[in-house]
């Protein structure tokens, strides 16, 4: 009974712990192939300015950032595994100049059956990113919110 084979979960690391706990309790994900994804902004003006300095983050900084993020994502992976998860989990840190499009593109590349987003607050300005995914993603988008406790 596994319809969501490939699930992409967007992490920003400012998620409400209650939402994370809720995510960990979702039984229908336990056999899925899960992609834990953090999108990082990267700016590169080289092609426009023909100079080598206008790029952020630098190649060295990118490695440090990526390692830190993958370590953080591994913690979430461990949490999932501790909850009886039997599927496959991949951690990804993606650098892009447009995180909305980049995330959408990644979900398309891995042929996602479900995208899960976790807004930090009920009425926060998590806005344009989620709005973009709702309008453009090629997979169902689940906006996760623990039920009733905060209602």
């Amino acid at each position: 009974m596994k319809k969501f084979k490939s699930v992409v979960i967007g992490f920003k690391f400012d998620e409400d712990p209650e939402v994370i706990n809720f995510l960990l309790g979702l039984e229908f994900l336990r056999e899925s192939s899960i992609h834990l994804v953090h999108m990082s902004i990267s700016l590169d003006f080289n092609s426009l300015l023909e100079i080598n300095l206008a790029a952020y983050p630098s190649a060295e900084a990118k490695i440090i950032i990526e390692q830190a993020i993958l370590t953080k994502l591994s913690e979430s992976k461990s949490q999932l595994l501790s909850k009886g998860f039997v599927g496959h989990i991949d951690n990804h840190c993606i650098f892009t100049d447009n995180i909305k499009k980049g995330f959408c593109k990644y979900a398309l590349e891995v042929n996602a059956d479900l995208i899960i987003l976790m807004p930090e607050k009920k009425h926060s300005l998590f806005g344009s990113f989620t709005h973009y995914q709702l309008a453009h993603a090629n997979a169902p988008v689940m906006v996760l919110r623990p039920t009733r406790d905060e209602a």
């Binding site: 319809k3 309008a135 919110r145 009733r148 905060e150």
Partner: protein, 149 residues
């Protein structure tokens, strides 16, 4: 965790029932109580002016509600998850603002999950409807498009 206990599906009259077919493949809803909610927008004309006309007055709503619910009952078996054993409830809501009405229904029914089936990027159930519900619903929300399944 058994999730979800109650799921509410939004449906509006601008699409045919096939738009709900993505639900058919959601096997995790097999034991879930599913509410299929049809939202009909009431329209007021002349509000604040010297006249006040309402499209879909109270007396017009009852027969329409019966007709809509009967139609939903005819089609429901084609969209429920295979081997679904949970309860199914049909509801027809007449309201001024479908987005708010749907969120209110999620609240009042103590839903664990809201489901919005959308085919188009524009129109009544466009991304702004989905976006509003995803930001204001008291529970988790899944937005699907029929082309995905």
């Amino acid at each position: 965790m058994m999730f979800p206990r109650i799921a509410v599906v939004a449906y509006d009259s601008s699409h045919d029932f096939n738009i709900l077919k993505p639900i058919h493949k959601m096997d995790f809803l097999v034991n879930t109580e599913i509410h299929i909610v049809h939202i009909v927008k009431r329209v007021f004309y002349g509000d604040g002016l010297s006249f006040n006309v309402t499209f879909l007055e109270q007396e017009d709503q009852a027969p329409l509600r019966i007709a809509i619910i009967n139609t939903m009952k005819d089609f429901v078996h084609g969209i429920l998850p295979t081997c679904h054993v949970g309860k199914v409830k049909f509801e027809c809501i007449f309201g001024d603002d479908p987005k708010e009405d749907f969120c209110r229904y999620l609240q009042s029914s103590k839903a664990d999950l809201g489901l919005i089936a959308s085919r188009e990027k524009h129109g009544f159930f466009d991304s702004s409807f989905a976006y509003y519900v995803s930001t204001h619903a008291p529970c988790s929300v899944i937005v699907t498009r029929s082309k995905e399944f």
